[in-house]
């Protein structure tokens, strides 16, 4: 267990990462569904979801999908600001919330640049995507990865140069969401579109 986003910089241990190939994503939401059932996520909240953006005008239009998971940042601001140390970064980079310690103050929600956290309406505590560390520790892939029918999602150890994810990240042009914010996110995307990550401006958002 480590705190305050100060992971040791040695590359001997594991560093989990996720790669989502948006060229292969068909927006089927199998990942969202697998996540919902894996964790019994309450109604009205989501640990992972697929944002859909339409670009262009018919007939020259295309729909883009952006599956969103927790980025398990290298410098997670949620871990920095959690007043009770309930947000914890593991040695392997996975950030999770201790459900017995969280008081539901929502500071992590206020500061997370990716908006992936929510308050569980039944328990009053913060929850988010954990990259299924209970499955990963047992040698399995996260639930969303296993559910993806087009194999658009890849999960593994970035520090192992022979692992499929390390090779894919090395050999492809990858992008992360909001690199400028300085959290060093570890959910990588291939084919990330500008329109898909732009936050909706307030004029457009009003119906």
């Amino acid at each position: 267990m480590k705190n305050n986003g100060k992971r040791s910089s040695d590359r001997s241990g594991k560093r989990y990462a996720m790669l989502i190939d948006l060229r292969k994503c068909i927006g089927c939401n199998a990942c969202s569904l697998a996540c919902k059932s894996e964790y019994d996520v309450p109604l009205s909240v989501f640990r992972t979801w697929v944002k859909r953006v339409e670009k262009g005008k018919y007939p020259y239009a295309r729909e883009f999908f952006l599956p969103i998971v927790c980025n398990h940042c290298e410098n997670p601001i949620c871990v920095t600001v959690c007043p009770v140390g309930a947000s914890i970064q593991r040695e392997d980079g996975i950030v999770y919330i201790d459900p017995h310690r969280c008081i539901g103050c929502r500071y992590c929600m206020a500061s997370c640049p990716y908006g992936v956290r929510y308050i569980n309406p039944n328990l009053g505590i913060a929850e988010k995507c954990t990259w299924c560390f209970h499955r990963v520790d047992a040698g399995l892939d996260p639930a969303c990865i296993e559910a993806c029918p087009t194999q658009a999602m890849l999960f593994g150890d970035l520090h192992d140069p022979k692992s499929p994810i390390a090779r894919a990240v090395a050999e492809n042009a990858v992008q992360v969401i909001k690199p400028e914010i300085g959290t060093d996110p570890h959910a990588f995307y291939i084919g990330l579109d500008k329109a898909a990550v732009e936050t909706v401006s307030f004029e457009e958002e009003e119906p």
Partner: protein, 298 residues
């Protein structure tokens, strides 16, 4: 390029009205406390009538304020975690201690004041000043550490919060002192001299506040895309009525004119000015907290 979002989830509100109210009340408390120490801590005899009302108000408001935190948190029965599991990089952890130390110091200081023991009153008054500044300043850090939100993530935030705390505190003291001297003092008459001095301090504090708001906005509106969107939101968007009209025109510029023009500086206009300031600062907290998290992140 035309693009539109077809589906996205609506994020939950993180802070909202309760936290804005909490910031507002701690600000009023810190402002009242600082005014109460003008005579008992620094020896400005003119402000002596403010000493007792100031400390009573400061203590009362600071007991009231954390109740809003209890309403806000999802698991209030676990509040004791804040004192057992510490994370010193989190401003809320700083606050857990300040919210204990500051009211205790207020009570000690107030007790010595009512017992008319000059020296200990002075000592605890002076200890209280950094505490009062910290107890409100830390709330500015809470907001400023929310690095995802352009409106929050500025180093100006703690000082902006402090100055607006002092502004609202002085306005509140003007009202309370008028009521006290008019109805509860021996003379049953408003102390014009004292109110005039307070009015002047208030007017110039408003100028400092306006300058800070201006520098914040000026930098926001030429900064990165999110910052520009935030500046647009409060200047022209949904928060325009609250930010421009209620907070800055009615809450600062109008009271400033009333307070500096001698012709307007009569009892009723000063009451109006003080009320406008008190309401305006509430909207300042609301715009910062709710406006700050209004623009979606993803």
């Amino acid at each position: 390029m035309d693009s539109q979002v077809l589906y996205n989830i609506i994020p939950q509100e993180a802070f909202g009205l309760f936290i804005a109210t909490y910031f507002y009340l701690t600000g009023l408390s810190a402002g009242s406390f600082i005014l109460s120490t003008l005579s008992y801590g620094f020896g400005f005899e003119k402000f002596k009538p403010l000493g007792r009302v100031g400390i009573v108000l400061a203590t009362f408001l600071l007991v009231l304020a954390p109740l809003f935190l209890l309403f806000h948190v999802g698991a209030p029965l676990r509040s004791w975690h804040l004192f057992v599991y510490l994370n010193f990089s989190s401003p809320i952890t700083w606050g857990s201690f300040l919210l204990i130390l500051y009211p205790i110091n207020c009570i000690i200081y107030g007790t010595f004041m009512f017992l008319e023991k000059k020296k200990p009153t002075r000592i605890f008054g002076l200890i209280g000043i950094p505490l009062a500044i910290a107890v409100h300043g830390y709330t500015g850090f809470i907001v400023a550490f929310g690095k995802a939100r352009a409106l929050w993530n500025t180093a100006l935030m703690p000082i902006l919060f402090l100055v607006s705390a002092i502004v609202s505190g002085i306005a509140l003291m003007i009202l309370v002192e008028m009521v006290r001297s008019r109805f509860f003092s021996k003379e049953k008459k408003i102390n014009k001299d004292l109110i005039n001095s307070l009015s002047k301090i208030l007017a110039w504090s408003i100028v400092v506040d306006l300058f800070l708001v201006f520098s914040d906005l000026a930098v926001l509106s030429i900064s990165h895309a999110d910052a520009q969107a935030a500046a647009q939101l409060i200047l022209h968007g949904k928060f325009f009525p609250m930010f421009v009209l209620l907070e800055n025109i009615l809450g600062k510029i109008v009271p400033f004119i009333i307070l500096v023009v001698p012709r307007f500086r009569k009892t009723i206009p000063v009451i109006v000015a003080a009320l406008l300031v008190i309401i305006g600062i509430f909207f300042m907290r609301y715009v910062v907290v709710v406006g700050g998290e209004f623009i979606p992140l993803i």
